[in-house]
Symmetry: C2
Subunit: 163 residues, 2 copies
């Protein structure tokens, strides 16, 4: 039996109730473009025009997504000139905190779709070594594979549907 990542039966409101954190996350960033926009922000592409060019996203959608991300506190608008007052978009702590998720998505793509090897390597700035990502047990000090991951209701679970 594979990893049990438990969750609930309600694909709704964003911080609307504690039900499933995966659903909550996808509510915030789980549309066709948002994670790509965030990828570009990590990558150093911060301005509207540059994002538009780089992603090929429709301008109206880009406007919408950027405002939405700002509203969610994932991104903030930093003025880089006045006069035609212009802002660039930068990750907040909350946004930067999505880094592990992007890393995980990238690793999966590397593994299953990069026939000629990864198009991009993530390396340690200090030593240049390609990085790993792993789930680990702080108690046992060992890496845990999906098969050894179990789940149980946490403190935030409402007392309903034990399923």
């Amino acid at each position: 039996m594979p990893a049990t990542i438990h969750a609930d039966a309600n694909p709704n409101g964003i911080a609307h109730e504690p039900e499933c954190s995966i659903a909550a996350t996808l509510e915030a960033v789980g549309d066709r473009w948002t994670l790509l926009i965030l990828r570009d922000l990590f990558r150093g592409v911060h301005r509207f025009e540059a994002l538009h060019r780089d992603l090929g996203i429709a301008r109206n959608l880009l406007t919408d997504r950027l405002h939405r991300l700002a509203g969610l506190g994932i991104v903030h608008r930093v003025p880089y000139q006045d006069r035609p007052i212009r802002h660039e978009y930068r990750l907040t702590t909350k946004g930067a905190d999505l880094s592990p998720a992007l890393v995980a998505l990238m690793h999966w793509g590397d593994r299953w779709y990069a026939e000629d090897g990864p198009p991009t390597l993530l390396i340690h700035d200090a030593c240049g070594t390609p990085l790993d990502q792993a789930v680990s047990c702080p108690e046992c000090n060992e890496t845990v594979t999906p098969h050894h991951i179990r789940s149980r209701p946490g403190p935030g679970r409402t007392i309903e549907e034990t399923l």
Copy 2:
């Protein structure tokens, strides 16, 4: 400056060319429902009717997504009865390999949207300890934060646009 997760300028074909593994991954599983379906598969919900009930997804979409996932080799259809021959959907290795991504997305939701604490805890089956996930450097034997992540073109990058 936050983590640099570099990527390309083309949000296209799935295994269509090596450009950006994040885009490739999102091409495969980056729509509104797919990751939630996968979450349920991890969680032990394997049948059409159960997925439909649990997720509230439209039946036509569920059909479509499951077939798509099967086509991509992320899921396979296992007969569990003949006669009205019926299949259940199970993760392949490729599908199970998305575990780290789901874990990362869940952690982020836990951190930013679970006011009363995580609705679900992932624990080590051997000892019951809540698990961590981290990016680490195999050389330095230390955890690497987003700020210390750099990126560089890997072997799979086509020789174009140095940006």
